[in-house]
């Protein structure tokens, strides 16, 4: 790897990952609604149809359940499909295929049939798309054994997780926070596959652990900066893999900071944040100087109006405030 970097968007990073996969392995193909001629509903596959042709970049009809199930079949048949479901909101139509087929084939067949399938989808709110288009269900998906669940918050991960996921013999769901597609940043020229088993510490600190993933990572990093100005040093952990959870990462951190705040865009009750809190309860209870807290989305179908949506989503100010209170400050 050279030391050189380029400024690109998250969208470009996703696209580069897709291109890379299609180039490297002829068993890989991409299918989903409007991935081809339209260029992807977030323009993340723009140009790939021309580059790889309609056999390998397949526009599907609107039928989430069947093209997802077809991805399972194609994986069983020796290919390495990347199924794109435009957004998590539409994936509910494919849930039967995901939970009852993709997640069960290996176990149910006593090890005979594994399903090397990658399903990508955009997730999250923040774009005023209202109740049916703003779900953050990646943490909810993480409940399902038999699949792996990733969420790519950084350019590195958007670029590199796909290839690693494609090497995996089992179904992997990759969630891309849609609010990040336009985000710009620096990416190493030689960036490639990344590990998908470990969480990543984005900022070190000894006073409090902020545990998060996805687009809330940036809210946590902002909050950590503000906290630092008031003398509180927060450690910020991006989980990256929501299933399996790298619990060691946050348990180790909490053993040092003795305080944990989880920031999760999912609806609070039954969110991934609850699981993390419960694990800390079970495995680091005696390390805690204060109860673990959670900042999640308010439990409402997402409203359209901007001020209402902002009130529903986790915000930096709340993180700062809560963290300060937890650390005995204001």
């Amino acid at each position: 790897m050279t030391g050189q970097t380029r400024t690109i968007t998250y969208r470009d990073a996703v696209c580069a990952g897709l291109r890379d996969a299609l180039q490297r392995d002829e068993r890989v193909f991409l299918m989903g609604e409007d991935v081809g001629r339209y260029g992807g509903c977030f323009a993340a596959s723009k140009g790939l149809l021309d580059e790889f042709g309609p056999e390998r970049v397949r526009d599907t009809p609107l039928s989430e359940s069947t093209f997802t199930g077809a991805g399972i079949g194609a994986a069983l048949g020796g290919l390495r499909p990347i199924v794109e479901i435009m957004t998590v909101n539409f994936s509910l139509l494919a849930l039967d295929q995901i939970m009852n087929n993709a997640a069960t084939y290996l176990h149910m067949s006593g090890g005979l049939f594994n399903v090397p399938l990658v399903i990508r989808m955009a997730t999250g709110g923040g774009k005023q798309l209202a109740a049916q288009h703003s779900h953050s269900l990646e943490g909810w998906y993480a409940h399902i054994p038999g699949i792996k669940v990733l969420c790519t918050a950084t350019l590195e991960d958007a670029r590199g997780m796909l290839w690693t996921a494609l090497q995996d013999p089992d179904p992997v769901l990759i969630f891309e926070p849609s609010i990040l597609y336009a985000m710009e940043g620096e990416l190493a020229e030689g960036a490639g596959a990344v590990d998908i088993a470990r969480a990543k510490v984005h900022r070190s600190g000894n006073d409090l652990t902020l545990i998060t993933y996805g687009s809330c990572l940036y809210k946590c990093l902002d909050a950590a900066e503000q906290l630092s100005a008031t003398g509180i040093e927060a450690e910020v952990i991006d989980l990256r893999s929501l299933r399996p959870l790298d619990e060691e990462s946050f348990l180790t951190s909490v053993a040092r900071t003795h305080r944990a705040l989880i920031v999760d865009e999912g609806w609070r009750s039954g969110s991934l944040s609850a699981e993390i809190s419960a694990r800390i309860m079970e495995k680091a209870f005696y390390e805690l100087d204060a109860p673990v807290e959670r900042i999640c989305s308010v439990e409402v179908p997402m409203p359209y109006a901007k001020h209402m949506e902002e009130a529903a989503l986790p915000q930096v100010a709340t993180i700062v405030e809560t963290a300060r209170r937890m650390c005995g400050g204001g």
């Binding site: 609604e33 409007d34 081809g36 001629r37 339209y38 260029g39 509903c41 323009a43 526009d59 009809p61 609107l62 039928s63 989430e64 359940s65 069947t66 909101n89 539409f90 139509l93 774009k127 005023q128 798309l129 209202a130 109740a131 049916q132 288009h133 308010v298 439990e299 409402v300 179908p301 409203p303 359209y304 109006a305 901007k306 001020h307 209402m308 009130a311 529903a312």
Partner: protein
């Protein structure tokens, strides 16, 4: 499948009515043009799907319904809401996200609801409104109301399993649903022939024994005629009916669409068949509309739109303290 087909370009037979169609189509057109402007000005946000080019369908179909009939539409439903009777104020304020919007700013462009006019959305999940429409028709029939539920959806929705399930259930249970396929030949960037193995959509209806008809969706007179026949048949038999309206959207799918998937010529070709221009031409040919009347009409509509924009601008935001209201009907439940 039904054997009657509405012929295109029928002579206009009713002056009042034809002028009403023109007014409605123009109201939609100008309202949406203004909306697009306001989107660029960031007054309106989220997704905005314009109906421009397709106005004859919504106007034609809505005209054939009684006020007590029900309608379920998609995210491309400004037109439907207006023709059903919702005022521009309530729609514009909704798209501004103001509390005076039809849904208090909760829904936005994709989710217009109206209890008085029985508009049950504004559904942003493709195909998601179809089962709901079947249930509304069931409720009307079980309660002895001779009403029709009109369900509008795009041709793209017909690939979803719910279309098939809903057609089957409505036919099996003999439910008064008018299925209106607004076939604009594209689902975002996916052309009909890349979405359906059989592009004659009335064939799908045949598989369920549902009477069907295809009509020129660029001709409001033809759409009204077809929709009236369909509605009359539904009221007489309670059985569902499938009406395919062949139309075209002149604008991108939403405000984010680079339109890589179709040619400028194709779009231009369809624009030649603009439902509004052709009705104006026919009205003028018949001597029912002169330049002055048209200018007056445009002016009235401009006025109505400015008033709506004014209303939206002047309206209040819903207090943030109300956020959790309406998650449940009982305000105590959280």
């Amino acid at each position: 499948m039904s054997d009657f087909k509405a012929k295109p370009g029928l002579p206009l037979i009713d002056r009042e009515e034809s002028l009403y169609f023109l007014r409605q189509m123009l109201r939609i057109r100008r309202f949406e043009e203004k909306s697009a402007e306001l989107y660029s000005a960031t007054k309106i946000r989220g997704f905005l799907h314009l109906y421009i080019g397709e106005e004859a369908v919504g106007v034609g179909v809505a005209t054939a319904l009684d006020p007590a009939d029900a309608m379920v539409a998609t995210y491309r439903e400004h037109g439907h809401a207006m023709v059903r009777g919702m005022g521009m104020d309530a729609i514009m304020a909704e798209m501004y996200g103001k509390v005076t919007g039809c849904c208090r700013g909760r829904g936005g462009s994709m989710h217009l609801f109206d209890a008085e006019h029985r508009l049950y959305g504004g559904n942003a999940i493709v195909g998601g409104g179809l089962p709901v429409a079947v249930g509304l028709a069931l409720a009307d029939r079980m309660q002895g109301r001779k009403l029709v539920t009109c369900c509008c959806f795009g041709e793209g929705a017909m690939a979803e399993g719910e279309f098939h399930e809903s057609m089957n259930l409505a036919a099996l249970w003999n439910l008064p649903v008018l299925f209106v396929c607004e076939n604009n030949y594209y689902a975002m960037g996916t052309a009909l022939n890349r979405s359906e193995s059989v592009v004659d959509l009335t064939q799908k209806a045949a598989a369920y024994g549902v009477d069907a008809m295809a009509v020129d969706g660029m001709d409001v007179i033809a759409v009204v005629a077809a929709a009236r026949k369909a509605v009359a048949q539904i009221r007489a038999t309670a059985a569902p009916f499938f009406l395919e309206c062949r139309t075209y959207r002149f604008r991108p799918h939403s405000m984010f669409d680079p339109e890589l998937y179709r040619s400028k010529q194709e779009v231009e070709g369809w624009k030649q068949r603009c439902p509004i221009q052709s009705l104006i031409r026919r009205l003028q040919e018949q001597g029912w509309l002169d330049e002055e009347a048209l200018a007056r009409l445009e002016e009235e509509i401009t006025g109505e739109i400015s008033a709506a924009v004014d209303f939206a601008e002047r309206s209040e935001w819903e207090p943030v303290s109300e956020l959790s209201r309406f998650v449940y009907s009982d305000p105590e439940v959280q």
